[in-house]
Point group: C2
Chain length 385, copies 2
């Protein structure tokens, strides 16, 4: 298959911001792209060759869309896997492969898969319904605190809740879920692995999520992680093990905990470009989006090394503001060294909504961290008065 | 004016590849973009918010298009300046300003401007018609060899010819033109200057065009130029002088000759993103397209420094091939270190047509140069058999 020929079509399920950043890379390679999303307002509409409106969970919509492309990929996990399986049977290249996607899509299945393959992770209990949790606590089978996670359809912090007392369960949807031990981690780390269809594998450096000391919210994604070399090696080793057992094609972002005694536990994975890899647009020889394209087209993978240190700051809607978005003090941050904003183009802000990100690159990671803090303290995502 | 507000519209005259690369940067800032081009097949169509079909040389088309935007810029010089002047009078921000564009658009006017402002350049004669040249030669007013240049509408090597004997004049269009001394230069250099509406000015490093030893064709654009520091300083000084006298807003690419005795002579300028700045996408802190956007929106300009050495190789159609394009050995070049292809998406190749470019970045410029040569020797732009 000649991916640079005029007959080739790449399909992307999901038309959000990740898809849009992926589409920029299809332009570099001049690849014809077709996107399906349920919203006519999808960010991808402006960057793809063809746009189809359709529900990602609908069998017929996904199947009919997939029949018209040569390679099909995703920018979000919540898609109709049955349709993907049928497409795969009929010879369409579906990446990630549906088997890998099935394992990842359901968090209970994902955790059981880790057990089967001796991949270290936090202990957990599985429940068919959230309502079963109370009994388990009463019987002594589960202890506070724990992390409740919906088995499916969680995204961007939705579907996850730290439960410290019975009352915290109130209002949670009564769905299949897991209750996971709350890990008092030293660091949250992530490694992105790329694997092409021929099996070539490369790993990006370990990144570190730095949390706000009080708000318990990720403030900075820092590459490379400021951790012991041995811990970094262990994290990459664990990520590679997940990659080789799950047999994805494309990217696999592996989020991990570094425990107080420097063990590495897998938290969760995503088989696609990931927030933890956004720094790579400015800092890496091959950014994660180009790498995903290379991998799913079975091209040689690019260097995952960094040109310099990179730090990403998420731009989220400020508390207390809902409505037409305004980026306050944007000019101030543009005056700072090595700062690149990425505004996602969402019209309306609301508290904690992801509205964009800013990357800071610098030869000196301490200097980058300083500038990142300045960015964080300066820019405000608010609404018109 | 709040450029990040939902009411703001940026207009671009010309929908080619330069415009497309500019549009990627409007996405990072979430700026609403409107493009006009005479071709329904314009590359920009896939990346802009609104596309208008219209002739760039037609007064009404340009005027009506311009009335609907807040800031108007160009990706090609050949546009109707009268319409731009009227728009400017009516309060539309036109960048480059029409006065600067008028000076640049006509090469004879441009050269006379350099004389007025004591900017060093190659000697020249101006002719109202090419047919007047023969007389001038006969009268001893002009000597072989010289460079014939059409005063207007030349682009990408068209409208330029080295004349070594009378016969070389055959077939040239009978238009306003100049005859310029042929400079036996040591190096051809270029400097990109950015100037925002408030007058902030920054300059990119000097780049060097390396020519094929026999074919007399630019093979590599190399940043930084491998020249004496004093020569580089002089080149930047000259470029800044052109910039400050011409009073552009946005980018100004200044092409220069380094003579055998290390004088700097201005060759010509372009008031927009330029082929000599493509390396900046991968190598610079702020690429030339983002910088142009920052400048015309009167935002603070970004750092022009390089993350590392960058070399650009133009991808042009191979001789002897015309028709549906095929990029031969693309996979081979993707295996090389720090290589990023940019395929422009033109369906058909023909000899010497610009089909894309490839950037090579490396900490070590000698290593980058080696890899660039490998790229040049490996990839072939041919047509289907």
């Amino acid at each position: 298959m000649d991916y640079f020929s005029s007959d080739f079509k790449l399909g992307i399920l999901g038309g959000g911001q990740l898809g849009k950043m992926l589409l920029y890379e299809t332009r570099k390679f001049d690849i014809y792209s077709k996107v399906m999303d349920s919203s006519e307002e999808a960010p991808c509409k402006i960057a793809c060759n063809e746009f189809v409106k359709g529900s990602l969970m609908d069998f017929d919509a996904v199947y009919n869309f997939g029949k018209g492309v040569d390679v099909l990929t995703i920018e979000i996990e919540n898609v109709n896997v049955e349709a993907l399986e049928k497409l795969e049977d009929e010879g369409i290249k579906v990446y990630p492969p549906t088997k890998a996607l099935r394992t990842i899509q359901n968090k209970a299945t994902q955790k059981l898969f880790y057990i089967d393959h001796e991949i270290p992770m936090a202990n957990f209990n599985r429940f068919a319904y959230t309502s079963e949790i109370e009994d388990s606590i009463a019987n002594g089978g589960l202890h506070f605190p724990f992390v409740w996670k919906a088995a499916q359809f969680g995204y961007d912090g939705q579907g996850v809740k730290v439960v410290r007392k019975l009352g915290d369960l109130n209002g949670l949807p009564n769905v299949e879920c897991i209750a996971e031990s709350l890990i008092p981690f030293k660091n949250e780390l992530a490694v992105i692995i790329a694997r092409n269809a021929s099996g070539q594998v490369v790993s990006y450096p370990v990144v570190e999520m730095e949390f706000h000391p009080e708000a318990n919210q990720v403030e900075y994604v820092i590459c490379p992680a400021r951790i012991d070399k041995k811990v970094a090696e262990k994290a990459i080793e664990v990520a590679l093990k997940v990659s080789s057992t799950i047999k994805h094609v494309g990217l696999l972002a592996v989020e991990m905990f570094q425990t107080q005694d420097d063990k590495i536990l897998v938290n969760e994975v995503a088989p696609r470009p990931h927030n933890s890899g956004h720094y790579s647009i400015e800092a890496s020889f091959t950014n994660q989006f180009e790498q995903h394209i290379r991998a799913i087209l079975d091209l040689p993978l690019g260097s995952t090394e960094s040109k310099m240190a990179g730090i990403m700051v998420n731009l989220v809607g400020a508390e207390g503001y809902t409505g037409d978005v305004v980026y306050k003090n944007m000019e101030e941050i543009l005056r700072l060294e090595g700062v690149t904003p990425h505004i996602y183009g969402k019209r309306e802000t609301r508290p904690f909504r992801k509205m964009g990100h800013v990357t800071i690159v610098n030869q000196d990671i301490a200097k980058a961290r300083e500038i990142a803090q300045k960015v964080k303290e300066t820019i405000e995502v608010v609404s018109k008065q």
